[in-house]
Amino acid sequence: MRKRLLIVGGSYAASELACQARENGYAEDILIVSEEGDLPYHRPPLSKSYLKDASEELMPLRAEAFYRDKAIEVELGARVVAIDGRGNRATLSNGVVIPFDTLALATGARARTLPGLDTCPGNMHCVRSVADARKLRSAISGAEKVVIIGAGFMGLEVASALVRQNKHVTVVEAADRVLARAVSPELSRLLSAIHAQNSVNLITSRKVRPIIGHSGLINRIELDDGSILQADIVVVGVGSHPNLELAQQLELKVGNGIVVDDKSRTSRSNVFAAGDCATFSGQFNLAGIRLESVQNAIDQARVAGNAIAGGDKVYHAVPWFWSDQYESKIQIAGLSGGATYSESRHGEKSDVSVFHFRDDVCVSVESVNRPRDHIAARRLLAGSKEITRRNLQEVDFNISALLKA
């Protein structure tokens, strides 16, 4: 009987892991089981262009023909409810049992909800899947007042998409600045200013309490200073929980995510994990932060697929992220947490890069509309030579110049 690689999940990590296993010579069956109704697709547009243009279509990561050509079977609309780690069998919600030899968990994460809400009011939205985005997109035209809870990437991108459609947009954040978990205070200040210029009402350091009306919808949001915000629709972007239920059934080592090594191996020898559900601590992420990004999902899946095919690639990737808000392209290379010193360079067209140092060594560069700085930073951070504050001072923070050195 043929062996089987079973991949649970339906996004970047699942798709890339299957492709890489095949590309690297894995010749057994590959089956992806995804709860979603669509083939794996690009998620970043869901909170950006997808909300701005009702005709914008879902963009698949790969065409159906590609999976077919590579003999990668994709089962959509199916949920794995149980995994028997001793018998190496997975059970779907419809009772079908799938034996496997190697298992990859790419189960992702789900949106956190607001505390104190035991129902999901019809006018409350989040944006994780295309189903979420479709629901929000169809509600936009009938709404005038939008309250966004949480000033993370998702919240701010939705704010920039909706305020440009002449909605009255308020963003409420519990922390004292926007994107507090993701970017430096310098970049937070810059982005706050950009949103204020675009008429977004930004409120920080405030907790919220949604008030449900007779209709069962949220009709207003009460803040902890007693003020009230009227809302036609409410978008919640307050972080995520990794989907760990299957990992727990298998008694895998978990923290804030399934703990994996530099080959995306879990604590069980035939089980791998990658993407939003996994956590890995390495040179570029000493704290082992669970990274939720396209880059991390793809790079972790690549080493997992390679390992499953018998390869020996290891994860050694500089984390990078991007966000588009208004005319600003925000690009981040490396993680700035734990930085001890920062320095900014502003250009003439409201473009800027913020350089972050830990013990005089550059660990992260955040750029707004400076793609060259971003690319140079990614290349330099990935290199074997440290970039010091002095190195950058010598070229007046023109980081591209260091590539030629």
Binding site: C19, E23, H42, P44, P45, M59, P60, L61, R62, A63, E64, A65, F66, R68, D69, V294, Q295, I298, W322, D324, K329, Q331, P371, R372, H374, I375, R378, R379
Partner: protein, 105 residues
């Protein structure tokens, strides 16, 4: 309109029947192996192609962001482009490209 693509292994594939609005989406929708990690916003270099010489001058010039991103592509050449930045238009009937080796960064 028709596009001719040579894949990483050198096989010739003609694309005429898919709707994709950019060169990248046409290549992807045909089922060829193109990573296009960022989905077409010129934030990576994993849709890197080489454009056949007779076509390079007929395309809109490389933009600033695209130019920066091409710097991280493996084996950038004079005729390198990010296929997500090339719009499919009628005057490009017969456009011929080769998928570049590797997948960028």
């Amino acid at each position: 309109m028709r596009i001719v693509v040579y894949d990483q292994g050198g096989a010739r594939v003609e694309i005429g029947d898919v709707a994709g609005q950019t060169l990248m989406s046409a290549i992807r929708d045909k089922g060829l192996n193109i990573t296009a990690q960022c989905g077409g916003c010129a934030a990576c270099a994993t849709c890197h192609v080489y454009v056949d010489d007779e076509w390079t001058s007929k395309l809109k010039p490389v933009g600033d962001v695209e130019d920066a991103m091409l710097d991280i592509a493996e084996e950038r050449q004079e005729n390198s482009r990010l296929s997500c930045q090339v719009k499919r238009t009628e005057d490009l009937d017969g456009l011929t490209v080769r998928l570049a080796p590797g997948s960028g960064f």
